[in-house]
């Protein structure tokens, strides 16, 4: 079966000093994949490639079997993206920001109204629809960002550090929202938080200095910290990509 998203031998940067090098993995429908790595490992570079923000210098990203950069622009409707900094206009209200994102993804009229109503209800934003984005707390802003990413009902949701900078209560809220989203669409999220991987993902791709160190299926008894510390050791014991347990 053709994967929803396929990353094939992707590289970014000069060949002698790459930011990403020879990264490969696939994402199927209803997969939840974490891109894990230390700061500077290349998570954001990879996430930006997957979302179609920029193109790889080597290799390709395939969406439904077609190269993302060369396929028709409409194919991008399948993608929902939450960048590291929420893409909201501070001088627009929550409602206006959501309507704007919906319009950008081709929603019009009653379809747009219904979509905005639904995400506001689902993300608990009904009480602050008229509030300017600049007046929102970090947790509410992140919820607005997530609502923007899913307002057009994408098949693939790509999130760059969705829980960064949140307090424990906000963290719990956002995680439960992400869990509910993961049941409707495929999820790829970049993070350096092992808790995110444990709570939200069924697979993890570990990046180290721009290279894929290993790919591992997350199970309740997975020792993610050991994996993070000693990726090579885990790889040699049979948890490597392709042979994930």
């Amino acid at each position: 079966m053709e994967p929803l998203l396929r990353v094939r031998d992707v590289g970014v940067g000069r060949p002698d000093n790459p930011r990403l090098n020879a990264v490969e993995f696939s994402v199927h429908d209803n997969d939840s994949v974490a891109i894990l790595g230390a700061n500077g490992a290349g998570k954001t570079s990879l996430i930006r490639l997957l979302a179609g923000v920029c193109a790889p210098d080597r290799g390709e990203v395939l969406l439904n079997g077609q190269p993302l950069q060369r396929t028709g622009i409409d194919a991008r409707r399948a993608i929902g993206y939450l960048p590291q900094r929420v893409a909201a206009y501070p001088d627009l209200s929550v409602d206006e920001n959501l309507r704007w994102t919906g319009q950008l993804h081709g929603l019009r009229g009653s379809a747009l109204r219904d979509a905005v109503d639904q995400v506001c209800a689902a993300f608990d934003l009904d009480g602050c629809r008229r509030r300017l984005a600049t007046k929102l707390s970090a947790g509410m802003l992140q919820r607005l960002g997530l609502a923007q990413a899913v307002v057009h009902r994408p098949r693939l949701l790509i999130l760059d550090e969705p829980t960064a900078g949140l307090d424990p209560l906000q963290l719990d809220q956002v995680r439960s929202l992400l869990r509910s989203l993961a049941s409707d669409c495929a999820l790829v999220l970049a993070t350096h938080l092992l808790d995110d991987v444990e709570h939200l993902c069924n697979r993890v791709v570990l990046l180290d200095a721009g290279r894929k160190r290993l790919e591992h299926r997350v199970t309740p008894d997975s020792d993610l910290l050991a994996l993070f510390r000693h990726g090579d050791a885990a790889e040699t014991t049979g948890n490597a990509s392709g042979a994930s347990t």
């Binding site: 179609g52 920029c54 193109a55 909201a88 950008l104």
Partner: protein, 246 residues
């Protein structure tokens, strides 16, 4: 989609303080200049009449005021356009634009139209102030209408050119500096070298002045259409290249 983006850009600009400042400042400046010109005209009008001069209120009051309005537009439109894409890039919102199912030409055309729409109220209210002079003096309405159309076209052209710099540079201040630098260069270009030099065709002033003086020439229309389109095409190319679509 282009119109939706244009409306969004216009609403975004209108929500900012800068737009209101430019609206007020434009009014103040043009009203002051127009009435200063009018006062001078009123002083010398009897002498002109006695000397049998053909110069009237349109040539001595309206045209110089509209020339000042051109200078005001050369500053106001770059200020409005500087953040169009540069601030999207700086704030991280450009990533959302690049991921969305929207063509680069739609983004660029929509943004350019949005900046132009935002400049129109500033331009039209100042033109209305100048038109008010018609209550006290005889204004050549044909010339005034042609000059007003020229200024509307100039505002659209400026929106296209300044948007290019906002696409090229990631900082609004850098985009503003590049826009102003280029426009001042084009403004002064005809002051250098021989008047019949081929490169003088690129100068801005020789294409604006006849229009404001009531003379619509095809070469001026071609200048604005060709350079405006080139700026839009190049900006679209840059945006497509940024997301690797080329």
């Amino acid at each position: 989609m282009i119109l939706i983006i244009a409306r969004h850009q216009w609403l975004h600009l209108r929500a900012g303080l800068l737009w209101w400042l430019l609206l007020g400042l434009g009014q103040l400046l043009i009203a002051w200049l127009a009435f200063a010109q009018f006062e001078t005209f009123a002083e010398i009008a009897p002498q002109l009449k006695a000397a049998g001069s053909n110069l009237g209120a349109t040539g001595l009051v309206v045209v110089p005021t509209l020339n000042s309005l051109v200078l005001f537009l050369l500053v106001a439109v770059p200020l409005l356009a500087m953040g169009s894409l540069a601030s999207e890039s700086r704030s991280g919102r450009l990533e959302a634009w690049l991921t969305a199912p929207v063509h680069a030409y739609q983004v660029i055309l929509g943004k350019a139209l949005g900046v132009w729409l935002a400049s129109l109220p500033i331009l039209l209210t100042t033109l209305a102030t100048v038109a008010l002079l018609g209550l006290g003096i005889t204004v050549d309405l044909r010339l005034f209408a042609l000059a007003a159309t020229g200024l509307v076209v100039l505002a659209l052209w400026l929106s296209c050119v300044c948007l290019l710099f906002s696409t090229m540079l990631d900082h609004p201040a850098a985009a503003l500096a590049a826009s102003l630098g280029t426009l001042v260069f084009l403004w002064l270009l005809d002051s250098f070298g021989a008047a019949d030099a081929a490169w003088q065709q690129a100068a801005l002033l020789p294409h604006v002045r006849p229009w404001l003086g009531g003379l619509l020439r095809s070469q001026d229309v071609v200048y604005f259409v060709a350079t405006g389109m080139a700026a839009l095409l190049f900006a679209s190319y840059l945006l497509d290249r940024r997301r690797g679509m080329l």
